[in-house]
């Protein structure tokens, strides 16, 4: 008897993403976009664009980047922890499949799902704001998915309360960096190891609006997420599946 057909199972994983998360992400994105962008677009008319001089630019960047963060949070919520909390892992991993490979694949399937959802939303935004670049937006989405998603993945492997923990880590890092980041001393050095969320604002403007980015910032963010993603996989490989 052969081993599990994980490649073929990708279709089921993608279907789950669409039904359980993708539709919700698109609807929330549409809602936020309509409520926050549409009134300004109507008021400014043709002047509303992503161009540097347009007053609509900060709003476009802020709203679209927030939708990406929210989408990543929704996508990663319970990616591993739900199966463990609900006991679904018992039947899944009595089959000849590796949890390590199963969840690594799931991570990338969800990444594809988030990119597809963002493609739909950015396509609509591009339709109403032609200067809005779909490609730049998807590039930003990919960077944030790896950066934020890698940490989210690790937290989902390590704890049952992953969504809350990820939100707390994200917010906590931001606040601690704001308080201690610029001060001299040990604490300012310590906060440097926290997730580099402070770089996301600049990165959003750079990538979404300008299509450029400081390479070191991108590398730092993605490497940070990638390290946690690998740590999560190692925890799956060497840690227990059951509590």
């Amino acid at each position: 008897m052969s081993r599990g057909r994980l490649g073929q199972y990708t279709l089921w994983q993608f279907r789950d993403f669409v039904v359980e998360r993708g539709i919700a992400i698109v609807l929330i994105g549409l809602m936020l976009g309509y409520v926050l962008i549409e009134p300004l677009r109507r008021a400014l008319g043709p002047a509303f664009s992503i161009d540097a001089k347009s007053p609509g630019r900060p709003v476009l960047v802020m709203v679209s980047s927030s939708i990406v963060s929210l989408a990543v949070l929704i996508a990663l919520n319970g990616i591993v922890s739900t199966d463990r909390k609900m006991g679904y892992y018992r039947f899944l991993f009595a089959k000849p499949v590796s949890p390590f490979v199963y969840y690594a694949q799931l991570f990338f399937v969800y990444m594809a799902g988030v990119l597809a959802s963002m493609l739909v939303l950015s396509g609509l935004l591009h339709w109403v704001v032609p200067s809005f670049s779909i490609f730049h937006f998807l590039l930003y989405t990919a960077v944030v998915f790896v950066a934020m998603g890698g940490i989210g993945f690790f937290i989902s492997v390590a704890t049952r309360f992953d969504w809350l923990t990820l939100a707390a880590v994200w917010l906590g890092s931001r606040i601690l960096r704001d308080i201690y980041g610029e001060k001299p001393g040990f604490l300012s050095k310590l906060v440097q190891v926290l997730p580099p969320v402070h770089k996301l604002n600049d990165l959003a403007t750079d990538i979404i609006a300008n299509g450029t980015a400081v390479a070191s910032d991108v590398v730092w963010l993605m490497a940070y997420g990638a390290v946690f993603f690998v740590l999560g996989l190692l925890l799956l490989r060497y840690g227990p599946l059951a509590d």
Binding site: L6, A94, P240
Partner: protein, 319 residues
Amino acid sequence: MDGVSTASHFRHASSIVIDFRNVGKTYRSLLGTSVKAVEEFSLQVPEGEILGIAGPNGAGKTTLIAMMLGYLRPTTGTVEINGLSPREYVQRNGIGYLSELVAINPKWRAETALIRYATLAGMSTSQGRARVDELIELLGLAEHRAKKVKALSKGNLQRLGLAQALLRDDQILVLDEPTHGLDPVWTQKFRDIVTELRRPDRTILIASHNLDELQRLADRVAIIDHGRLQRVVSTGYEQSAPAVTRFRLTLAAGYDRILESFPLAEDAGRGEYDVTVGSIQELNSALADLIRRGALVASVVPEHSVLERQFREAVGDPQ
């Protein structure tokens, strides 16, 4: 030897498939308190055996199974399956597993849940669909195949769980409380299925509270309590004649002859009598005498099976 054996005394010469060596599992909380779920558990399970695992609630049965599937790591000792660590074995070969709590995503439909598991089990789409159809038929799920898992009754969910455990032709089957929630018809059907699954190269573990079920299905039963292996009981009655046992005799005719053959028989009503004998030989000679006197014996049933008796001795009254 009164039905009690140890792993090393097991009668089969077959190769050992599952090997628990001095296994212990201690759960530790963040506050520092610890609970020993399993302690110094050693047992070898040979190829072709149906092994029962019996024990009261919290005895450690499910923890043992979780370690066998590689979901938990032992704190001490080792578990090996065909010489491999459990996780390695499962990832290479798979194990047919029905857990005590059947946990399947409630949003999935019964049939598609099985097709998903078939894909994970390594079956091609056509193989998987054919096997799923077969199991849906075998387990009476035809009218429920399109239902969402959350809409299934406890019994149907249990049968769905059993169906996913039987998808592959696995060498090892682990069934944790398999008849939990099944009605008497399906309980009997389950026994027939397990009997058909018996094969010289297949090892089956059944954890159950139902001693009668284990007595009927298992070759041996490991009785555990407080995480420790109390004893291993062979279920074959011929090997385990008790010293003194009560039987219930049911007569179809010749009721007035009973006291001549069994002077201490107690009338239980409706042609049933409780008799106490010192040995199987004594029972047989008294029965032969009774039949010779013209009585018609309809049934002879021990008050407690060998397993029940052993269980009572090991852990107290069965639940």
